[in-house]
Every structure is written in structure tokens, then in C-alpha cells.
Symmetry: C2
Subunit: 158 residues, 2 copies
């Protein structure tokens, strides 16, 4: 690890600890960096923002995109105080972040009752085996919109 890697991870861990004092959410922090500079540094805000998606990584991705004025974080890396849950891991993909540095593992998280494994298992299951029922209807109607999108010439793909 470089000195910069250490600096970024220490910042993520500092934010995770700061959340205990501030009571903003769970003990998680994340930093997005590019070309040796910190772009964003955020903590979990689920309970204070009333937003179940406001995990540290999601918050850091949103903030970095805002700062860089883009929906693509190509060339960026993320430092997170804990292994990302499937929501955040997927967000890292959508954001095109290139590397993930993490400190605590999902096992460490499970020990303090943040059980990402349940969601990792759920995401990997066939639709008919999921805990949350998935019911399909109106496919024909919805698919028309997909065709219209396909034909649309001035669309912005992401």
C-alpha cells in the first residue's frame, strides 16, 4: 500500500468512528479518490437521512459524481471501512470505479448484526426461490417502451 492508500483508508475509518459520536448512521465510512486526490469522503446516513440506500459507499459515489459533474467514476478507486454489501458493490460497478480497498469483512459486519450474507445469498438465488416474492405481469406493455428506447437516436447510454 502507498502512503496515499493509507491516508484514504484512515479517513474512511475516521468517518466510520465519527458516525458513532454524531449518531448519523451505522459505523461505516468511504472515500472516493482519483489520481492521488480525495474526491469525496462520506459516512453512512441511513437513520439520520431516513434513507435505507444511504450507505457510506453510495454516499461517497453520489458526492464524487456531484463534484466531478459526471455519472461515470472511471479512473476512480474507493476505500471503504467495510466490505461493500451487494447494493454498494453493484453501485461501484454502475459507477465504473476500478478498484475497491476495504478493511472490515462481511464476517466482521455480521458479528455486529449487519448481515449482508442474507442479501448476498438472496441476489444469487433463482427468482422463484427468493425470500421476497417476485411477481411478473404486463411484460408486453412494458416491452414496447424498451423497443421505443432502442429506436431512439438521441439517447444517452450509461
Amino acid at each position: 500500500m502507498t502512503e496515499f492508500d493509507k491516508e484514504c483508508m484512515l479517513e474512511a475509518i475516521k468517518l466510520s468512528r465519527q458516525n458513532l459520536a454524531d449518531g448519523k448512521g451505522g459505523p461505516f465510512g468511504a472515500v472516493v479518490a482519483k489520481d492521488g486526490k480525495i474526491i469525496s469522503a462520506e459516512s453512512n446516513k441511513v437513520t439520520s437521512a431516513n434513507d435505507p440506500t444511504a450507505h457510506a459507499e453510495i454516499e461517497a459515489i453520489r458526492a464524487a459524481c456531484k463534484t466531478l459533474n459526471t455519472f461515470s467514476l472511471e479512473g476512480c478507486v474507493i476505500y471503504t471501512s467495510c466490505e461493500p454489501c451487494p447494493m454498494c458493490l453493484s453501485a461501484v460497478h454502475w459507477a465504473r470505479i476500478e478498484k475497491i480497498y476495504y478493511a472490515n469483512s462481511r464476517k466482521d459486519a455480521a458479528e455486529i448484526n449487519f448481515d449482508d450474507d442474507i442479501i448476498y445469498n438472496e441476489v444469487s438465488k433463482a427468482l422463484e426461490d427468493r425470500n421476497i416474492p417476485m411477481i411478473r405481469f404486463m411484460n408486453e406493455e412494458a416491452k414496447k417502451v424498451f423497443f421505443e428506447w432502442k429506436e431512439k437516436e438521441d439517447k444517452i447510454h450509461y
Copy 2:
């Protein structure tokens, strides 16, 4: 399906189509409902909000939480014009939504170049087999914060 189910899904599909005209993002819409009432109805805003996490389902979850002033959508269901990607499926879990109605499938999405399958596969892989490298360090330092969280008495769990 009830008349209300159909009404909600038609609204989600309407929003997915509206996005083509508005140019706010991909052709996706979602509705969160509770006790036979629509709580939120949102479309994808990735490219207009510069937020790669602004999928329709995430936007609908955020908006419903804001309206209901809570981080838990227990008792809610979601109607989405397309099968949720792993990010949105995980968000549905974190939000404690109880049922998912969807119209287009991930295969339909792949046909218009939204290839969630890549992310579904990635999430299911062992960490060392992932496309995005995952590098662990400073676990000892980060784990101290987890212990402090465990000991904290006035925490809000979610």
C-alpha cells in the same frame, strides 16, 4: 392481479416511457405503494442527476422514505417496469419492502444493452474472482470501531 396492482404497474410503465421524452435517464419507472395507496412514483435519473445510483427503484425508495419519514418501508410493495438489478434488489431488502412486481425481465433489459447479468454474476463470485479487484488492509484499525459500535448503548439499528 387487482385493479390497484394494474394501476400501479401502468404508472411505472408510464414513467418509463416519459423518461424517453424527458431525457432524464434510462427507460425505467417504479412505484412504491402501501395499503392500497401510491406513496412514490419515480423514474431513472442517472444521466440527468449525474448519479449512477439513481435507478427508478432507488429513487422510488428514497422518495417513499421521505414521504413516510422513516428508513423502513415495512408493509410496502414495489412495482417496477423492469426486474431490479442487484443494487436495487438489495435496496429493496434494506428498505424491508415485502413484495416486488415487475414487467420486463433482465433478459429484456440485456436486449437493449442494460446488462445486469454481468453484475449478478459478479456479486455471486468469490472475492478473489471478481472483475473489480478487492484489496483488504487495515482490518485491525477498522475493527476497533465495530467493537465500539457493539458497546454503544444508544445506537439506532436498521
